[in-house]
C-alpha cells in the first residue's frame, strides 16, 4: 500500500541521504544526526546545522532476521535488519547483507554498501540506498596491513 507506484517525490526527497549516508551536524554542540534534521533537538534555535557525509563505518547495535515482510520486500525474504551505530555517533536502521544470520554479533564492525532497497511491481521504480556488510580489510595485509 505504502509502496505502490506512487510517492515518487517522497522517494526522491530522501534519495541523496539514502545514497550517500548524508546527515546533519550541529556546529554548536558537535552532535551528528541521521537522518538530517532541520533543527538540533538539543540546541534548537541556538544551534547551527550543516551537512555531513558519514564514512559508512560502524558497529552492529542490534539485529533481527525477518521471516515475514510487507509485500514490497517479499522477494528478498529472509533478510537481516539491524541497528548500526555509526562511528560518528548516530544510529541507523538498515539491512545487513553478505552475512549469515549465525555470524551476526552485537558489536561487529560493518561498512556501508550500495544496494537495491526495493523494486516496485508493474514497471515502477527501483529504489537504491545504503545497506551494511561486515567490514573486511583482510586484503590490506598484502600492503603491510596499512589502509589509508
Amino acid at each position: 500500500m505504502a509502496m505502490s507506484n506512487s510517492g515518487i517525490p517522497q522517494h526522491w526527497r530522501t534519495m541523496r541521504e539514502r545514497y550517500r549516508l548524508l546527515g546533519a551536524r550541529c556546529e554548536k554542540c558537535n552532535t551528528n544526526y541521521f537522518p538530517p534534521r532541520n533543527v538540533c533537538p538539543k540546541c534548537r534555535r541556538r544551534g547551527k546545522t550543516t551537512q555531513i557525509e558519514f564514512s559508512g563505518r560502524g558497529k552492529v547495535f542490534s539485529y533481527t532476521v525477518i521471516n515475514a515482510s510487507s509485500r514490497a520486500f517479499e522477494r528478498y525474504m529472509p533478510y537481516i535488519v539491524g541497528l548500526v551505530q555509526l562511528d560518528e555517533g548516530p544510529r541507523v536502521l538498515s539491512q545487513i547483507v553478505d552475512c549469515k544470520p549465525d555470524d551476526l554479533r552485537i558489536g561487529m564492525e560493518v561498512e556501508a554498501c550500495f544496494r537495491k532497497i526495493f523494486e516496485q511491481d508493474d514497471g515502477g521504480i527501483i529504489s537504491y540506498g545504503f545497506k551494511f556488510r561486515p567490514y573486511d580489510n583482510s586484503w590490506a595485509k598484502d600492503f603491510d596491513g596499512e589502509v589509508l
Binding site: Y19, F114, R115, I126, L148
Partner: protein, 359 residues
C-alpha cells in the same frame, strides 16, 4: 578509417573493481540440464561464474566499482570530474540513465556530463576514449568510465556457463596522479551479427561458431595490429596483454596470433573463476594487471563487443602505481571472496522464478 589518438600524458588516474560474492560451478549447471560438465569445462576453460545477490544490479555494481576507483584517484575533487559514463548491456532501466544514479551516489552531481553507453561488451572502453578526448581537448580535468553487467543467459543455453556479473571503473585524466599513461588507442568497427538481443526479448541470441573467426578474432586481432602499426610496436614491446574474455580459450588464442607468450596473458585472465562479466570483462583483466605491474611496464588491452568492434589501448605504467594500489581492494580479493550456491538459489537470484507474484 583508423581512429588514432595519442594521449600525451593522459591516462588512468584511478581504477576500482567489484565482483559479487556468489558463485555457481559449471558442474552444478550441467547437472540440472543433464549436460557433460567436463566437456564444457575443457571447451570453455571456465570453472565457475559470479552471480549477483537479489539486491544487486548493474547500477549497484557500478557504484561499488566507482567508489573503489575514486579511493585510488584520491587527488580528484568532485567538481573536477567532468564526465561519467556507464557502459553495460544490462542497464536496469531501458530508459533512465544508470550514469545519473551512479553520479548521484558518488557525489558528482550536478555539474557533470553523463550518459549510458551500449556496445555489447565494449561499451565502457568506447566511453574511456570519449573521456580521453574531453580531457585532451581541455574540456575537463577528469572523467570516469565504468563497465558493469549482470549478464543474462537463457537457461540451458551454453552461455549460461559463462554469463556473469561484475564491474570495473576507470578515472581518466592527466597530471601527476597518472598511474598508467595511455600511449595510444585504436578502434575497429564493422556490422557483424554474431550476438544480439532484440528489444523486448529477455535473453540474447548468439550465432554459435560464427562468434569466433569473423567476429571476435577479426576485430581483436586487426584492431591490435593496427595499434601496433601506428605506435611502431610489436608484441615483444609489451609485458602484458589483456583481451575481452568470453571464455578462457579465445584470449589465449588471440594472444598467440598476435605473437604474445602465454605468460604475458595469464595475469590478466579472470574468466575461469569469475565468468564473463561482459562490459566489465577486459577492464577487470586490466585491473588484475594494474594490481601487480611495475613502473615502466607496458600493457596492451583490447576489448571486444559483439555487433561488432574492438577498442585497443597501449598503456605504460608510471611510478605512481605503488602509492595508489593499496587504496582499494585488488581483483584477487574479490576473486577469492566467494560463496557457492546451487542452481535453485541461482534461479532465485537470477529471477528465473517469481516470488508470490513478483518477478
Amino acid at each position: 578509417m583508423l581512429l588514432e589518438l595519442k594521449a600525451n600524458g593522459i591516462g588512468i588516474v584511478g581504477y576500482g573493481v567489484y565482483i559479487p560474492r556468489w558463485r555457481i560451478k559449471i558442474e552444478e549447471i550441467a547437472r540440472v540440464w543433464g549436460q557433460d560438465a567436463d566437456s564444457y569445462r575443457k571447451g570453455l576453460g571456465v570453472e565457475e561464474k559470479a552471480v549477483p545477490s537479489m539486491d544487486e544490479d548493474t547500477t549497484t555494481i557500478a557504484v561499488e566499482s566507482a567508489r573503489n576507483a575514486l579511493k585510488r584517484a584520491r587527488e580528484v575533487k568532485p567538481d573536477e570530474m567532468g564526465a561519467i559514463y556507464v557502459g553495460s548491456e544490462s542497464h536496469p532501466y531501458a530508459v533512465k540513465p544508470t550514469a545519473a544514479t551512479v553520479a548521484e551516489a558518488i557525489g558528482l552531481t550536478p555539474n557533470i556530463t553523463a550518459a549510458d553507453t551500449e556496445f555489447a561488451c565494449k561499451a565502457a572502453t568506447a566511453a574511456m576514449q570519449a573521456c580521453m578526448g574531453l580531457v585532451k581537448g581541455g574540456y575537463m580535468k577528469y572523467g570516469i568510465s565504468i563497465g558493469a553487467d549482470t549478464a543474462q543467459s537463457a537457461p540451458g543455453d551454453a552461455l549460461e556457463y559463462t554469463a556473469a556479473a561484475g564491474g570495473a571503473a576507470y578515472v581518466i585524466g592527466g597530471g601527476d596522479g597518472v598511474i598508467a599513461e595511455i600511449e595510444g588507442t585504436n578502434s575497429y568497427t564493422q556490422d557483424v551479427p554474431d550476438f544480439w538481443r532484440r528489444d523486448g526479448t529477455r535473453y540474447p541470441t548468439h550465432a554459435g561458431r560464427f562468434t569466433g573467426e569473423p567476429a571476435y578474432f577479426e576485430h581483436v586481432i586487426n584492431c591490435s595490429r593496427a595499434l601496433f602499426e601506428k605506435l611502431g610496436t610489436t608484441a615483444k614491446d609489451y609485458d602484458y596483454a589483456v583481451f575481452h574474455q568470453p571464455n578462457a580459450k579465445f584470449p589465449i588464442r588471440a594472444a598467440k596470433l598476435l605473437g604474445f607468450e602465454e605468460k604475458k596473458v595469464l595475469p590478466g585472465m579472470v574468466v575461469s573463476k569469475v565468468g564473463n562479466t561482459y562490459s566489465g570483462s577486459s577492464l577487470l583483466g586490466l585491473a588484475a594487471i594494474l594490481d601487480r605491474a611495475k613502473e615502466g611496464e607496458r600493457i596492451l588491452m583490447t576489448s571486444y563487443g559483439s555487433g561488432a568492434g574492438s577498442d585497443s589501448f597501449s598503456l605504460r605504467l608510471t611510478g605512481r602505481i605503488e602509492g595508489k594500489r593499496r587504496l582499494s581492494p585488488p581483483v584477487k580479493y574479490y576473486m577469492e571472496r566467494r560463496e557457492y550456491i546451487d542452481y535453485s538459489m541461482y534461479a532465485r537470484y537470477e529471477r528465473l522464478l517469481g516470488v508470490m507474484g513478483h518477478v
